[in-house]
Amino acid sequence: MNIFKLLATLAEVDPEAYQRQSARRGMLSRLGQVGRKVAATAVPLGLGALPQQAHAGTQTILDTFTLALTLEQLEQEFYATALERGRQGTLVFPAGTQAVIQQIQGHEQSHVTFFQRQLQRSGAAVPAKPNFDFTGSKNGTKPALFPDVFTSFATFLKVAQLLEDTGVRAYKGQVEVLVADNDVLEAVLQIHAVEARHAAHIRGMRRALGATVRDWVSSEDDIITTAGSTDAVYGGEDATRQMLPGTPVKFFPADTTPVAPGPKPLVRLGEAFDEPITATVAANLAGLFIY
């Protein structure tokens, strides 16, 4: 009766057995065909915002996958670089932390592979990996946002938190684009959950080093963003009410709804819901590290 044990066994024996492989094989097939033209113009994320694509109704699943691939490549290379600097001795990992970063890097690599494979199978162009500069100096052409990202473990974790929380919000912003395709939507929600696990763990690592930060995004966390650049990572994240679908428009909580127990109901309301960001905001944030 232990479903997790059952799933674990299935996953060990045949990882695809519980994923309805046949339905997913051609995940992007029909969309790849209609979207091929779009792919050619959707690549240069590093040049700034994605033009037009963020407007509701014009964004395709292919656009979403292209954005997702870029975000995953960004995260993968970020962790891989940190691990490499650790091997070289220029970034010192506290005891026990290297293995877990390795594990997160492995997940990000899997996500990169996943999106590349889906794009290939759909016949769409697979965008080349952009050039990344994790100091945020755009290869030395502007002042660095995080000059010590790979020499200070605390700064490394700070950037990791910003990237993971951005990833969670970016995926959340894409779910409605994907609503027409069950397989694509489910896969993205599954990756979304893993990114949120990463974000939480990284936050816990920062807390262990003395930062005031929870595993969930809280208005009581230490502020680690800079106005005009990284502040978009948490812009709007502390919303304390949710608009429900349908008419007349209703909001939760309404004035007659019992909500959060405890002395800080609005802080808890903000924490209890993670908010999305648009493709444009996500691309701009990724663009801080792309040249």
Binding site: A11, R197, A200
Partner: protein
């Protein structure tokens, strides 16, 4: 008592001064689900059934953490009682959100069976929390595609918070176990390596069965 108190929030852009204390607890008029004597809860078709499905899971998590907060284990470490209280708060908010969204279509309050849980040790609490949070994460990952769209974005906002909870309680139970080593949580090999498990409502209710005193019939729910 503090834990029996709920704040009512007036309006959306409320200031703290508009918060009014109101009772909510043993006098809750909501009927118990399922009706006395019945041993099957049948979820309705369509979105109502799906939201009630999520409402069951949120009631379960909220009731669990409430019990923990009511009588915390003596061996909790620094900060853990506060974190467990915040987890309780989040789950109560999720529960109340779904109840509000469902309005008169909401199922009643469920009495859960926590006899399998050891509430007196932190290991017992975090072991059960891990089971419940991983279940919630996988259930939300699986329910999204069954929704027609209007509630998809809202449930996705909850889904990632549940994943953060799962990572927290896993790390508390065993450091660095936020997503592993259980291969059943995040696939480790194959085309879907690196993806969190997604459960169908039938799978999730089977996993929740030890906590339920009745069977949940999900046969009316959408399957695509």
């Amino acid at each position: 008592m503090q834990r029996r108190s709920f704040f009512r929030v007036a309006g959306a852009t409320v200031a703290a001064s508009t918060l009014v204390l109101a009772g909510c607890g043993t006098d809750d008029p909501t009927p118990t689900t399922p009706a006395a004597g019945a041993n099957v809860l049948t979820l309705a078709a369509g979105e109502v059934g799906l939201l009630n499905y999520a409402y069951i899971l949120e009631q379960l998590e909220a009731a669990f953490y409430q019990k923990v907060v009511d009588a915390p284990p003596a061996d909790l470490r620094a900060g853990e009682k506060e974190a467990l209280t915040e987890l309780r708060d989040h789950e109560v908010i999720h529960r109340e959100f779904l109840k509000f969204a469902l309005a008169d279509k909401a199922i009643g309050t469920i009495e859960f069976n926590f006899s399998s849980v050891t509430f007196t040790t932190r290991e017992g609490v975090f072991t059960a929390a891990k089971k419940l949070e991983d279940l919630g994460v996988a259930a939300y990952a699986g329910v999204g595609k069954l929704l027609s769209g209007s509630y998809l974005a809202l449930l996705a906002k909850i889904a990632s918070v549940e994943a953060r909870h799962a990572a927290y309680v896993r790390d508390a139970l065993q450091p660095n176990s936020f997503g592993t080593p259980d291969a059943g949580i995040i696939a480790t090999t194959g085309d879907y390596a690196g993806l969190n498990v997604a459960l169908t409502p039938a799978q999730a209710m089977a996993a929740a069965a030890p906590f339920l005193n009745f069977t949940v019939d999900v046969s009316q729910l959408p399957t695509t």
